[in-house]
Amino acid sequence: MPLKAVRLAWRITRLNFRAQLEYRSEFLMMIAIGAVWQVSVIVFATVLLTRFSGMGGWDSSDVLLIPATRMLAHGLFVLFLGRMHGIGYFIQEGKIDVCLVRPMPVHLQVQLRMFPTNAIGDLTVAVALMVGALSRSHLDWTAGRTSYLIVAVLGGMLLEAALFTAVASAALRFPAADYWGRWLEELLGTFGSYPLNVLPKAVGGLLTYGLPLAFVAYFPAAVLTGHGHDTGVPYWLAAASPLLGLLAYAGSRLLWRWSLGHYTGVNG
């Protein structure tokens, strides 16, 4: 992105941030909701870990790495690429049509349409959980392992962005597709935070090949903690999760561009 565009994007973001501050109580509550939403995942995982000894053969410190990775990836997604989620109403109200006539890429305009205040809460809890997970971890955090964790978080962010960009592409044609986005968020939050080998193979397969939820955090965490050979997929595929996120995101952007090219709006 040229320097001028970066400067413009920064200015718009600053303005959006000030706009969010207009409603102070809403602003503070949005930060709170980001935090409490993530805390709910921690509470659920903690309850399960306390009540059921070991999940799918993983000890609790290893399991914690899964929600930590997913949450951090999710927080970064919300901060940088999250406006694709919930775009249905933006399209339904014809606001996307305005973006088409402006001299800025539509995708960038969509991402800059508001400041995601809840990302502050999301990321605060995610960083805290990651610090907690790493401090409880018995693994030797070598440079290689640390680098893989960073790449995995970025890959998870891109994979989540790819899924929501695909839904947004569908929403250009069918605004009701937004409904699937909310379901996707629910599935990622509920089933993306613990070892999927606790589920029957068919269900685990559905969350691997049907909806690539396992690649967001479960597979990278499995590779890091030495469970990479017990995931039900070839080791190389589990290890390549971050790369898959990158490829999926690139593919989803192509899909978005194609869908936008075929967008007709209300006036044809």
Binding site: V36, S40, L48, F52, W183, L199
Partner: protein
């Protein structure tokens, strides 16, 4: 008010849903997948455990699946109908609620009734299928089924008032998105949707006892699976009824205060 008028207002949401087959197909698929995933998860968790927190595998699976089905009761795409309080506040059309020959509170209640009856049809159909497939256990006796039905009714009544209170917030803050999200979180966590409250630490269960959320879902489901015995059903139902009365009085007061906030265009 004449029954036909009430019927017309109550059926708006169900009719809107019935005329959008893609949304109904999506809801069906989502519900089916969610039930399968939740049942699989709890079966998997209990694979190497007998009884945990006093709950057997069958109780836990039944509880979790019923929680998913019950969530259908209020899980409509409210914004799609363009008739939510926040949308009317945003576009300034809330004033029309006060110009009709039907009071806003009555209209709101009728719409909610229609929504919940529509959701109930989904939940009942899902329950019948799950029961036939052996995913959930039948109630222990006819008495348990009756008490569960009464408790579920009271629970939904409480949930209606809680949702109403959040919508009423719009009259004073103009926005309620964050409050709504926090409410959904609190509702899911404190009513036992994420996990039965019996699995949580004692302090958490005690804390939730002071809030209305556990009365919306945890109490009826605990009665159904037998975690609350029939002998203890009376006090539980009384607490639910007390919440209905308290929240009814509170929201009635807020309706009055809200009316003072509404001004028509031009003042």
């Amino acid at each position: 008010m004449a029954v036909p008028y009430a019927w017309r207002a109550a059926r708006v949401t169900p009719l809107g849903e019935l005329h959008t087959p893609p949304r109904m197909t999506a809801a069906l698929l989502r519900l089916a997948v969610q039930v399968v995933l939740v049942a699989s998860l709890w079966h998997g968790l209990y694979a190497h455990t007998g009884t945990t927190a006093g709950m057997t595998r069958d109780q836990a699976v039944t509880y979790a699946v019923l929680a998913v089905l019950a969530s259908r009761l209020r899980e409509l795409d409210q914004y799609a109908a363009r008739d939510t309080v926040i949308q009317h506040m945003h576009f300034g059309t809330i004033v029309y609620w006060y110009l009709r020959p039907l009071s806003p509170q009555r209209y709101y209640a009728l719409r909610a009734l229609g929504e919940q009856l529509y959701g109930l049809a989904w939940a009942l159909a899902g329950f019948a299928i799950c029961l036939a497939a052996g995913v959930v256990q039948p109630p222990g006796s006819a008495a348990v089924a009756g008490v569960f039905g009464l408790s579920l009714l009271l629970g939904q009544w409480i949930l209606y008032y809680v949702m109403l209170a959040i919508d009423q917030l719009c009259f004073f803050t103009l926005r309620n998105n964050a409050a709504m999200l926090i409410l959904i979180f609190a509702q899911n966590l404190l009513s036992g949707v994420y996990a039965p409250l019996w699995f949580f630490p004692d302090w958490f269960v005690t804390l939730s006892g002071f809030l209305p959320f556990q009365a919306t879902l945890s109490v009826p489901l605990s009665l159904y699976v037998g975690r609350i015995p029939l002998s203890d059903a009376g006090p539980a139902l009384l607490v639910q009824a007390a919440w209905v009365v308290v929240l009814a009085l509170f929201t009635r007061l807020v309706w009055r205060l809200a009316a003072r906030q509404v001004i028509s265009q031009g003042g």
